[in-house]
């Protein structure tokens, strides 16, 4: 097996594994039980999406995908921070979690 073939095979397997991982995180996103768990699940989903896009870039050799991965990582971090601040503000107002 040549290096290119090994790389294609590894990237396809990696995409499959990451899709299974995203499905598991989606289960946690639906089941909760609290808002914090859902925020964490969304954050992990964006990080896994970065990995998925990286694996796609390896598979296709189309390296422009890396820019998309960086943009998703940025937006995911900002949304996690915003949602965590919302959770903190709600806790300071003394509402139920």
């Amino acid at each position: 097996m040549s290096g290119t073939q090994a790389l294609q095979w590894a990237a396809q397997l990696a995409i499959g594994l990451l899709l299974v991982a995203m499905l598991l995180v989606l289960v946690r996103l639906v089941r909760g039980p609290n808002l914090g768990d859902r925020i964490l699940a969304l954050d992990t989903l964006t990080i896994l999406a970065v990995g998925l896009i990286g694996a796609l870039a390896v598979l296709t050799g189309f390296t422009l995908y890396i820019d998309i991965a960086i943009a998703i990582a940025l937006v995911g971090f900002l949304s996690t921070v915003a949602l965590a601040r919302y959770l903190l503000a709600r806790a300071n107002r003394g509402e139920a979690p």
């Binding site: 290096g3 594994l17 299974v20 609290n34 914090g36 954050d43 990080i47 694996a55 390896v58 979690p97």
Partner: protein, 111 residues
């Protein structure tokens, strides 16, 4: 010759990264409370995506792509601990209870 070896190395990195991502997801699905889930997600998740970006660096041939992938790794390594800490603090402030087996609360402990 070197390129061939780098491709094998990149294949190994992609597989290891995907395995770490799957481990993070299993941790999120199976662990008992938010704090332990944060522990799984913020370490294994960032290593998983970081290793896949390392593979992109290994197989790319031009400089800007390498630089952008490296920038992505640095950004993930910087932002994920911050987000995890902020989320854990917010959850603690909103009186989210840890799992029943927890023995020590350092913030609340008398000293």
């Amino acid at each position: 010759m070197i390129g061939e070896a780098l491709r094998y190395l990149a294949a190994a990195a992609v597989l290891a990264g995907a395995a770490f991502g799957l481990l993070a997801a299993i941790g999120i699905a199976r662990l008992p409370d938010l704090y332990t889930r944060l522990h799984a997600a913020s370490k294994a998740g960032v290593v998983g995506s970081g290793l896949i970006l390392v593979a992109v660096i290994l197989i790319s041939t031009d400089g800007p792509v390498m630089m952008r992938a490296g920038l992505g790794i640095v950004f993930l390594l910087l932002s994920t601990p911050v987000a995890a800490h902020l989320l854990a603090r917010a959850a603690y402030k909103s009186a989210e209870l840890p799992t029943a087996g927890t023995t020590l609360d350092v913030i609340d402990a008398p000293n």
